[in-house]
Amino acid sequence: MLEARLQTGSLPKKILEAVKELINDANFDCSDNGIALQAMDNSHVALVALLLRHEGFEPYRCDRSLALGVNLVSLSKILRCAGNDDIITIKADDNGDVLSLTFENAENDRISEYELKLMDIDSEHLGIPDTAYDAVVQMSSNEFFRICKDLGNISDSVQIDVTKEGVKFSVKGELGTGSVTLMQTANIDKEDEATLIELQQNVSLNFSLKYLTNFTKATPLSTRVSLSMSGEVPLLVEYKMEAGYIRYYLAPKIGEDN
């Protein structure tokens, strides 16, 4: 039996918007720690890992670990019926085949109830080790969103170079080239906009911009984003939330240094 209550409707809505752009269906793995999700995109080159820790819910109860197989488009349709200020309660029985969602609006005494059919999903879980990355860039999520959008107009892949001075995103396309460079600690006064770099070693990697742009659907979840990179391992793009995170992993493009 799972029962979890969220104080704001906007959070699950934003999460769903961020995840459903990458994957179709996924298991929500519920345990006493909280609710987690891990799934790869169709091409298996990107992975999203979501964690909502139990502290984020009030109350949270999960007697036994449960995997709730959900079609994300369907779930987002139901969540669209919730107001941003609604209190959302989700419930599932141990052997049930539905996920029930209740949206309560205290202001106008409105209660809406929905049931989403669950599905059996064979999921492949990848064990992701804690990695010490060569370079970790923390920056404004809006800035990252803008860079991906701007450079995506020019090319499909972006080269990211991190040095101790700053981080440079550069593209080469048919129409020409472009680059955006963010200098380290450019904005001390505005914490949200500062670019911070922890560097063990310079890195220079290529990534698909279409995928990065897809990840920026999570921008509303956090004002900050961190990009963690090491040579020839997947990039980690992380948006931290109050009680949890959404992490994207993306395989680098290898052999495209031109």
Binding site: K20, E21, L22, I23, N24, D25, M40, D41, N42, S43, H44, V45, A46, L47, A67, N71, L72, V73, D122, S123, E124, H125, L126, G127, I128, P129, D156, S157, N206, S208, K210, Y211, T213, N214, K217, V233, P234, Y249, L250, A251, P252, K253, I254, G255, E256
Partner: protein, 292 residues
């Protein structure tokens, strides 16, 4: 055609009160060659179609029940569709010769279908035939100027021109006939050229339903549908069946069939499907699989 005590339900043309009884007859169908029923009334040719009740339905007619629940539909048909296969045979065209010129009586003389000669009675048949035939006029002989004897020989070029004109007429009227509009798989969002091509293609199919295989082939060769072909090769409209399917397609597979199998993808996923993943290794080559 039927015993007088038998009545049938029929949708047919309006007939003036004083008109003669219609002539009904079996003639070879222009496409299949199987005998089908046709009607001549007031010099016009009609084809008769039957919605067979298969003995399962009956009609209520006022206070009575009629056990035969079939519906007969009688609709006008251009006599040339009937004539083309006949003319095609009787001209006896060979590789050396364009074939024979024949008079009306000779054309519609058949041992197998004696009722063919009824076609001679059709209004302005000679004018119709002139649309698809070479015509020769000769004095009917015997002086007195009683008229000229006309002989006909089917001409391939004229026939194709006439058939193309038929397709065009149908295509022009297409949008005014709702059942036809519904019959083609195009949506409003399609490119205008595609729509036009889809309409022409559909009109072509309708006309070809009244042609023998060889004529249908010749006619089809006159048309090209480049935009439609492009469209079909690029996308296939997902059918209802596809919506039930979910599959775990692997990265290695061609991206095109994958798009078809995954109609439920969100906008973001559709964009990703177009992303080039060359040089990108699957994540499972970086992270070890864990048993779930």
């Amino acid at each position: 055609m039927v015993a007088t005590n038998q009545q049938r339900i029929c949708i047919g043309p309006e007939v003036p009160q004083d008109s003669k009884n219609p002539v009904t007859m079996l003639l070879p169908h222009p496409s299949s060659g199987f005998p089908s029923r046709y009607v001549i009334q007031e010099g016009q040719l009609y084809e008769m179609q039957l919605v067979d009740s298969e003995g399962l339905r009956s009609w209520f007619i006022r206070d009575t029940v009629q056990s035969d629940g079939s519906l007969y539909i009688i609709t006008p048909i251009d006599p040339l569709f009937m004539c083309i296969p006949i003319l095609d045979i009787v001209r006896q065209r060979t590789s050396e010769s364009e074939g024979l010129f024949l008079g009306l009586q000779d054309i519609f003389e058949s041992d197998q279908y004696t009722s063919l000669r009824n076609l001679v009675e059709l209004d302005k048949l000679d004018q119709h035939l002139a649309l698809v035939c070479d015509v020769r006029e000769s004095d009917s002989g015997g002086g007195g100027g009683s008229g000229k004897r006309k002989t006909f020989r089917l001409d391939n070029h004229r026939t194709l021109t006439w058939l193309k004109r038929k397709v065009q007429v149908l295509a022009d009227k297409f949008s005014s006939i709702p059942v036809l509009v519904d019959s083609i798989d195009y949506t409003e969002s399609l490119h205008e050229i595609c729509q036009t091509e889809a309409i022409t293609q559909s009109a072509l199919r309708l006309v070809s339903a009244y042609l023998s295989e060889s004529w249908a082939k010749q006619l089809a060769a006159e048309y090209q549908f480049p935009e439609l072909e492009k469209l079909e090769s690029r996308i296939q409209l997902p059918t209802l069946l596809d919506f039930g399917k979910r599959s775990a397609t692997d990265m290695d597979e061609d991206s095109k069939p994958k798009e078809i199998k995954k109609p439920k993808m969100s906008a973001g996923q559709r964009k990703l499907a177009k992303a080039s993943t060359t040089g990108m290794k699957p994540l499972s080559s970086f992270f070890a699989k864990k048993s779930a």
